[in-house]
Amino acid sequence: MQRPIQFIASICVATLGFAAPAAANKVFVSNERGNTITVIDSDSWEAIAEFPGGNRPRGIGVSPDGKYLYVCASDDDTIRVFDTETYEEVWTLPSGPDPELFTIHPTGELLYIANEDDNLVTVVDTQSRTVVAEIPVGVEPEGMAISPDATFVINTSETTNMAHFIDTSDYQIKHNILVDQRPRYAVYTDDGTKLFVSSEIGGTVSVIDPLAANGPELTTKIGFEVAGVQPEWLQPVGMKVTADNKWLFVALGPANRVAVVDVESLEVVDYILVGQRVWQMEFTPGQEFLITTNGNSNDVTVIDVARQQAIKSIQVGRQPWGVAVTPD
């Protein structure tokens, strides 16, 4: 499996890295119930290691240089940092209570962390390992995203049902957009022209124009429908957009499917059957593959992005939640 290097220039910010000879990437999966991290080799698609990840590991990400793995150990109220080579825990970062999801500044210097219990977003300096700012947001903050130009961090709050636009220069909330019930995840297109927010209980993805003349505004909402699946189980959670801004993938939780949305027309073109309670997703650096965590079947599904087909399932630890991939 060759890594097409021409894609690397335009891959998403969280995994931005320097072009290197094609090598296997490491896929890290947080197992919420098992308190472990499973490591998968992206060439062989075999699980190659499993190591302790702290208590209730959920949100997970790799530093832009690929050296460090950040894991929200929700029940430890901390972010555990692991060496991506040795899997040793190197230090912890102050996260505020019950960290769930975070987003990484493109430089890797800052983490923006949602603290579900405290209605706060905590900003942590990854070098000095200190808290830089605490930003009061809505009730039960969860989803986190950063605009491609890094001027805004987006936080979604699950009970307030809003996407908050936090200015990264002064940490003030500049805009709020009301979305459907229980917004879980936010993601920008790579060109920064669209922001998607998934609402788990509302069953929709809100499409927001972040660059509208009078400030960000809600453009439309994407709904989902699968024959034979009760509508209430179509619960959008994790999302990823391809770097060419063509395809949005939406994990539909207990519907056990990933929806494929045409970003231009905002139509759902396909539903890919994956494992049970599909939660979060991540691309391999070249975006050939998308890996989904399936919490109730204890596995991950590998989707061939170009063919929009599931090609493999890999058994991981108990109740996988988040997934991160090392850059090339």
Partner: protein, 395 residues
């Protein structure tokens, strides 16, 4: 505290005015009628002074957090009254312009309050489970966040059927409220294909609720009381009086699971429920109130969240407009039950999943898999539209 909230609202409204949103004050009242109560069998069921109100205050915080971003100020007045005082207290509230009223009262008083308040007041029934106020005694301005006894009974029997426990030994108390609950279980059994093979009534002979080493007699009496029943898979207790159901598990003559008022109980919330983000609800509640949540707290929280959510979505506090929106297809609310809750537009009942708890954990959640319905699987719980005698709502 209130001044502080107002300042925040004024401050954040700088953003709102830029967005063309006007400031809005929302004034609601939670009216609790306090009845003389006998002691519960279990100390876990002792009634705290702030029952319901503590849940409401959490909803105020939740609503106000959103309100701060929208230029809205939520004020809730918490009022407790004895049954004798209720009319006078209500008259004063109405004179002060109350139009949004959340009520914690029995069904009889709930109807009296609703009718006295008149059609221009939106009343939300937070806690009364009686069927009549949702059926032939329904009122157009009365919405029900509390589940009905029928919904709870259906939730229990669906689980029994999922377990293939088809033969039921029904034990009900001798008070009218216990017999009504027994009817709900008989109806549920009939609806889902279970069979009540044995029925007994546990007579309320009065007396104190507990004595020192009371278990010694319980341990001898309950086996005898349940002796020689027809073969059965499960015992269901209908005990609204809190008289005997908690004594049944482990003391039955024939060892069988117990459900209903004892054993596996249907509830709207319990303090150990963690799924679907409920952990955050529990922690917020415990931090604010200093105790564990009870069902009434959750029900008042949910009632005020229904109002808050509608206000936030339509940017108005007019009771008629709120009622129309709440009963519309547009309305939806997350309630820590894994799916949206909304209202049955034909009788104003909130559709909701029901938690089944052994009092330690969430054992299951009904509706169970496979119970389907043409409108919503949540409508497999409770009275359905074709059976309804409620005519106060638009068809």
């Amino acid at each position: 505290m209130m001044v502080f909230a107002r300042l925040i609202a004024a401050f954040t409204c700088l953003f709102c005015s830029a967005l063309g949103v006007a400031a809005l004050d929302i004034n609601a009242v939670v009216l609790r009628v306090d009845y003389s109560q006998i002691m519960p069998i279990s100390r876990y069921d002792l009634i705290p002074d702030d029952l319901g109100f503590a849940g409401g205050k959490l909803a105020d915080e939740d609503n106000q957090t959103t309100g701060n971003f929208m230029g809205m100020t939520f004020n809730t007045n918490y009022v407790a009254a004895t049954p004798e005082e209720t009319d006078a207290v209500l008259d004063e509230l109405l004179a002060n312009g109350t139009t949004l009223l959340v009520v914690m009262a029995n069904a009889e008083d709930l109807l009296k309050i609703t009718d006295r308040a008149g059609p221009d007041v939106l009343v939300i029934n937070a806690t009364a489970r009686d069927m009549s106020v949702r059926d032939d005694q329904c009122r157009a301005n009365l919405l029900h966040v509390a589940p009905s006894e029928m919904m709870l009974a259906d939730a229990v029997v669906q689980f029994a059927m999922w377990k293939q426990w088809r033969e039921v030994f029904l034990i009900q108390g001798s008070n009218p409220a216990d017999r009504t609950l027994g009817d709900a279980y008989r109806r549920a059994a009939n609806k889902f294909g279970a069979q009540v093979v044995e029925e007994r009534e546990f007579e309320d002979t009065g007396g104190s609720r507990r004595t020192d080493t009371g278990h010694v007699l319980v341990q001898r009496q309950i086996p005898v009381f349940t002796q020689n029943a027809e073969d059965h898979d499960v015992v269901i207790a209908a005990d609204n009086s809190d008289l005997f159901a908690l004594y049944l598990p482990f003391h039955l003559w024939t060892p069988r699971p117990v459900m209903g008022s004892g054993g596996l109980r249907p509830v709207t919330m319990h303090a150990a429920h963690e799924a679907w983000g409920a952990t955050q609800f529990q922690r917020r509640f415990e931090e604010a109130s200093g105790r564990f949540v009870q069902e009434a707290d959750y029900e008042v929280w949910l009632s005020l969240r229904v109002i808050g959510e509608a206000v936030i979505r339509i940017n108005a506090a007019d009771p008629a407009a709120l009622r129309d929106y709440i009963l519309s297809d547009e309305f939806e609310l997350a309630a820590f039950k894994g799916r949206k809750v909304n209202f049955r537009p034909w009788n104003g009942q909130l559709r909701q999943p029901v938690l089944l708890t052994d009092s330690k954990i969430t054992v299951s959640v009904s509706p169970q898999d496979g119970y389907l319905h043409q409108v919503s699987t949540l409508d497999t719980l409770g009275l359905d539209q074709p059976e309804s005698a409620c005519n106060a709502f638009a068809k």
